[in-house]
């Protein structure tokens, strides 16, 4: 692989682009493929096959050729509401799993770069914050403040935008009250039941890193359940 190709790959990854690396295993030559981009040289005659492979989002060999394709898809976006203690551990797990991550918290004393270095923190109320973020069914929401003033608007946004994972921290009682409020705001039972609350799978632990782990385990599992 040429150094300039590697540089381009790193750049594409940081821009969260969808692309593929195509390599001719005989010559060792590689190129970067993007949708609607013409390949050249030995790759040209396999353009159609490579395109189909890319759409299937798989890695592997193109049939009857010496061409290997590795696809890169856009990372999943995880939005955390509440720059709390658990979030500090969540951030570490989420980073090593290559999710794109950002935190929303209107409380300035929580959402500091000192507590969360090198991370995108939006120090605004969720209604305002969501105006500057693109969200869709590839987005996950983890609500951690258990303060209705902060969590509820974020949960409503996530439900309206069909986030594939929505989880909310809080006891069973807190969650019951939350469900009641959402019902009064006009959300259906099906929508409300899609919220994971109390958040996380049952691991038994009560410490912040253990709760973060139980949330991440649920998030990853739901990522694979997603169509």
């Amino acid at each position: 692989m040429r150094k300039n190709i590697l540089e381009q790959i790193i750049k594409n990854k940081s821009l969260k682009l969808e692309f593929a690396i195509v390599t001719n295993l005989k010559s060792g030559e590689s190129q970067i493929f993007e949708l609607n981009k013409k390949l050249t040289g030995s790759f040209e005659k396999f353009q159609k096959e490579i395109e189909e492979f890319f759409k299937s989002k798989k890695n592997g060999m193109i049939k009857n050729s010496e061409i290997f394709v590795e696809t890169y898809i856009r990372p999943i976006k995880v939005i955390i509401i509440g720059a709390v203690h658990i979030a500090q551990y969540l951030v570490n797990y989420v980073k090593s799993l290559n999710f794109e991550i950002l935190i929303i918290d209107p409380r300035g004393y929580f959402a500091t770069t000192k507590r969360f270095p090198n991370l995108k923190i939006i120090n605004k109320w969720p209604e305002e914050a969501f105006k500057e973020i693109n969200t869709n069914e590839n987005t996950a929401l983890i609500a951690l403040t258990h303060d209705p003033k902060i969590d509820d608007p974020a949960l409503q946004h996530a439900l309206n935008k069909n986030f594939y994972y929505i989880g909310a921290l809080g006891s069973k009682k807190t969650h019951e009250n939350r469900c009641q409020r959402l019902k009064e705001s006009g959300f259906t039972d099906k929508q409300i039941n899609s919220i994971h609350g109390p958040i996380g799978i049952k691991l038994g632990g009560k410490s912040a890193p253990e709760i973060a782990l139980s949330i991440i385990a649920q998030l990853v599992s739901e990522t694979y359940n997603k169509k």
């Binding site: 692989m1 040429r2 150094k3 590697l6 540089e7 790959i9 790193i10 990854k13 390599t23 295993l25 010559s27 060792g28 989002k57 798989k58 890695n59 592997g60 060999m61 290997f68 590795e70 890169y72 898809i73 856009r74 990372p75 999943i76 799993l97 290559n98 999710f99 990853v220 990522t223 694979y224 997603k226 169509k227």
Partner: protein, 109 residues
Amino acid sequence: MRNSFDEKILDEAYDWIKTDQKVVLATVIQTWGSSPRQIGSRMIINQNGDFSGSVSGGCVETSVVRESINLLKENKQCKKIEFKVSNESAWEIGLACGGEITIFLEQIN
């Protein structure tokens, strides 16, 4: 859906290149039967035999490191290597899991 997990091996390869190390990139390109790492799994190796990432569960990495150092010594651009189940000797390099894998080695330059 397919996950978007990325072990950031290429990012690490770039860091190595920037510090003037010679780097070989090893990629799992084909698998048969049960193999520990999926297609696209990666490992990088430098001229001193330092490595990062993985192409199996620790079964063939030693051999991949040796082959990579040779590739750099001979200054060859790329090479394909195959690993099969080894029955003859338990000490021979092979995949205890009963799978087969093909790995592509290439210099980054």
